[in-house]
Subunit: 307 residues, 2 copies
């Protein structure tokens, strides 16, 4: 086994992502010591019960002390407050990173609170499930998924290098991206899909003449996949939308324009436009499967096919 990448890894927040980092880092000894911090006593107890760390505390100041790497695994809305608390206690040359789904806001919230001697290298592992909390984590969550790092222009090359090695050891592919570009890419591949999934599930459950039980019984055809996405952590997603407002609103504008064109084609019976659109979208799916980012099993392998 190689030498540990970090001496003291501090995880602020221990939900699905934090606990998955902890489990994998422990399994493969990527850090000599793992410090787990979380605000709620109950969550801290759950983390202890799963043996996620070596040290447990509810104090941010205590948690970050002497850590050579601090990773914030908390909703994007809490960064400013946590930054303020940890700033004065960060060790010299510490790497400060995170796993938030929005990157510009994270930088803007943290930067004012950080001493000059630390290295801010924000990160975003593009991995997750619809479950949340320290019980939801597992060691293979990041395998073959991308982790995007969005270091500031002045970020230390060695810090970027060490964090890259860490994410690769967690199983990820790593790419470096400019924070604003990250936020626009994620708005379209992640934030808007979540918003419209939450929306359609809401629309369906509000219909007067169609019962909830009908929606549930007959959900197999399309809707069911949306409900999975719409079961994701509400606090995390509320914060994503509030903190990536500009990119989300712009992409939502494009989405609505495009939807109007399809709506118009339906109203006027323009079958050719619909057919062309529905054909074009198949190519993207093939690309994702070929890139190893998806299974080609029908219906995600929900069925066992023995024919």
């Amino acid at each position: 086994m190689a030498e540990a990448i970090f001496k003291r890894l501090c995880l602020i927040g221990i939900g699905l992502i934090g606990s998955s980092i902890a489990l994998r880092a422990r399994r493969d000894r990527l850090a000599e010591t793992i410090v787990v911090q979380t605000r709620r006593k109950e969550t801290l107890e759950k983390a202890k019960a799963r043996n996620l760390g070596d040290v447990y505390t509810d104090s941010v100041a205590e948690a970050v002390k002497d850590a050579d790497c601090v990773i914030l695994c908390i909703p994007v809305g809490a960064f400013s407050q946590v930054g303020e608390r940890m700033g004065p206690h960060l060790a010299k040359e510490a790497i400060v990173s995170d796993v938030g789904s929005v990157k510009r806001s994270v930088i803007d919230q943290l930067r004012p609170h950080l001493p000059d001697h630390v290295h801010l290298v924000p990160g975003h592992p593009i991995a997750g499930t619809e479950y949340s909390g320290p019980e939801a984590g597992f060691t293979t969550l990041f395998d073959e998924r991308w982790c995007l790092l969005t270091p500031d222009a002045g970020a230390d090359a060695d810090a970027i290098q060490r964090l890259t090695a860490f994410w690769k050891a967690l199983g990820s592919y790593v790419d470096v991206m400019e924070p604003d570009h990250h936020d626009r890419v994620l708005a379209v591949v992640s934030h808007i899909p979540h918003l419209i999934a939450y929306n359609i599930v809401g629309t369906a459950s509000d219909l007067e003449e169609i019962t909830q039980s009908e929606v549930i019984k007959f959900s197999a055809s399309g809707f069911r996949d949306f409900t999975r996405i719409a079961a994701s952590d509400p606090v995390m997603w509320r914060d994503v939308f509030l903190h990536n407002k500009d990119a989300v609103l712009e992409m939502l504008g494009r989405f609505s324009e495009d939807l109007s064109a399809l709506q118009r084609a339906i109203r006027w019976g323009d079958g050719d436009l619909l057919f062309d659109h529905f054909t074009k979208t198949r190519a993207i799916r093939r690309g994702i499967i070929e890139a190893g980012q998806e299974t080609d099993a029908p219906n995600f392998g929900r069925y066992t096919i023995e024919d």
Copy 2:
């Protein structure tokens, strides 16, 4: 083994649904003879290669002759034409059914061409995958999925009974529903989800500053599930939208209204509204899992979790 339910089962069209019916009916001897009809020579050859039937023909007139049950497994846009061709050749007391995703239009298209002596009992198995064609079928497609029958007011009780027994033997639960109500329920649980999945995948692939390869690489977070739905058969879906226009446009209006409310909350920073909405939608997911219509494995079991 019980007696076969039908003497001569005729399948008009042999795509994903038709071939799955054929495979299960053969396996469990639900029909003494299975007649497979399809327009394209190439598709008929594929059906033969998989041994889906006992008799193969490209002629609708020939196919339906002497059949006691005819099931149309073709896109909803082709019903009027096929109805005209088969009408004069249907056997006395034959059951005429289908598997189309829209039911009012199917009835309106078929009714004028059918002799009085046949029994029209339209059906809709709520099952499918993103794959199409006779290669895509498998015996377990209908297991524990719902099949909705939408018989006309004057439909023969014995015909409904036999078709119900057939779908149960294919593995389905069966429910009877009024055709217009069916079309409205399916508009919201199936047609609108497909439309917005097709739409967001189109929007993403049209962005100038974000490359196709970025969309593909970073698709894991939400978008990926939409691409599965947006890979469904374009002809089938074009016809669904053209033939369920009124219900689709109405539900799309509701969807857009609701989306505007979320958009407004994002613009004005109304986190409480977002949080409340995102919490409410979780209950629907739980209902679907409890009803046995979905797996509770994280990310549809895409991950192997050994922790």
